[in-house]
Symmetry: C2
Subunit: 245 residues, 2 copies
């Protein structure tokens, strides 16, 4: 499993991913699930992946290769004229990679499947955020649905639903994401530290701040232990049930 | 889907269940998923179910019938000498009901399966809480694992993990459960109001307070809207991330 969240704020995009991959609980490893491309002044693209690691690495390698070798039929994501066209190219690449394994039988799609989150901006359009399915289709974030989660989404969802605000600062959004990731971490062994994050500021047309949150980061420790305490206080602030005896 | 939680507190047991059953999103209904038996001064039993409704109703009907007609091979849960033996009887009944459908093929176990939570006390032993699997085996709650969830467990788990305290009052435990149920409700259409709950006070050997929380209950409304606000304040109480630019 995996946990990745992409958020569309008024001031830009915030993308965060965990780094654990596993093939059974006795076979775990740390892999980067966040890939970025940039042409300063023209576009910035951030891609996060959940699912079969071989599939997602293959997709990223193919996208990378096409940015170097010109191909008429499959133009590079650095040349596509809009975010929609970038999403379409990535979705087709994902579907193609999965279909290579179709000979393995009807369960291949599930076994080799992957889901992607794509965020970014291409000059001439606004920042956009897409969720790309293994079938090669995709949906876009909107004001009604301003964030997407992929992977192990359930544990960390309630706090996002309650506390998300499009006017948040990047600093507060990162705090919210760390709380959501920490809740997931506490419940599911297949999601693990460190967490990667990438910011993108609207209309900057270049990648913003990127960093990795380690488990021994004092800030993360503070959030993780502070959140338990803050939740207890939040619960205490509500009136107890009254038993009508 | 379903959501049920059984909690073992120092002062007794708290059991809560939702009431939604569905066969597709266009076919939903309200069913009681909580069944109780009582012999005052001797035992009190509370059973909650998640899974195939035909299976769980059949299990409850069979258990009920045996309390009325004596059967040497399958004694009544009102006669079993301990909570462990009660759990064993119920587990066997569950497995038998599921196995009736085994002719339907290898997927029968999944299709007709159900998971049960059993809480209660039999005179001579302490209160105990069990989770019973469709395979007919079961596990027991302990100080390390003082509560069990069945059904759609993920959304409501983080708050339980963080805020559960065995020394809680029944009133606070009900508040905590309503927050956990509300988080699940907000994320999953297959969990629905009203919620049933049943209390059992240690060594009382009779069922305690039971009631149903309706969606229009002023208390539930207060918890549901108040929790959103309290969560936001909890998040505000933690320091924002600091970007090292």
């Amino acid at each position: 499993m995996t946990y990745c969240v992409g958020m569309m704020l008024d001031r830009g995009l915030v993308m965060m991913s965990d780094t654990r991959t596993n093939a059974g609980v006795d076979n775990i490893a740390t892999f980067n699930k966040m890939h970025t491309w940039e042409v300063e002044g023209d576009r910035a693209l951030i891609l996060m992946s959940a699912g079969n690691l071989a599939t997602t690495q293959s997709v990223v390698s193919m996208l990378d290769e096409r940015t170097k070798a010109h191909d008429q039929r499959n133009p590079s994501i650095l040349e596509a004229p809009s975010m929609f066209q970038v999403a379409r190219l990535i979705a087709e690449t994902l579907r193609d990679v999965i279909s290579i394994h179709e000979d393995a039988g009807p369960r291949a799609a599930a076994q080799f499947g992957a889901t992607l989150l794509l965020g970014g901006q291409v000059a001439g359009g606004p920042p956009r955020l897409f969720m790309i399915y293994p079938e090669g289709n995709f949906i876009e974030a909107s004001a009604d649905n301003p964030f997407f989660q992929i992977g192990e989404t359930k544990y960390g969802r309630p706090i996002l639903v309650r506390a998300f605000d499009p006017q948040m600062s990047f600093e507060k959004a990162l705090k919210l994401l760390l709380v959501s990731f920490d809740s997931t971490l506490k419940a599911n062994l297949s999601v693990g530290l460190p967490f990667d994050f990438q910011l993108y500021e609207t209309d900057s047309l270049r990648l913003g701040y990127r960093s990795r949150v380690q488990g021994d980061s004092p800030y993360f420790q503070q959030i993780s232990s502070g959140w338990g305490e803050a939740l207890k206080q939040a619960l205490d602030s509500l009136p107890d049930f009254v038993l009508e005896k």
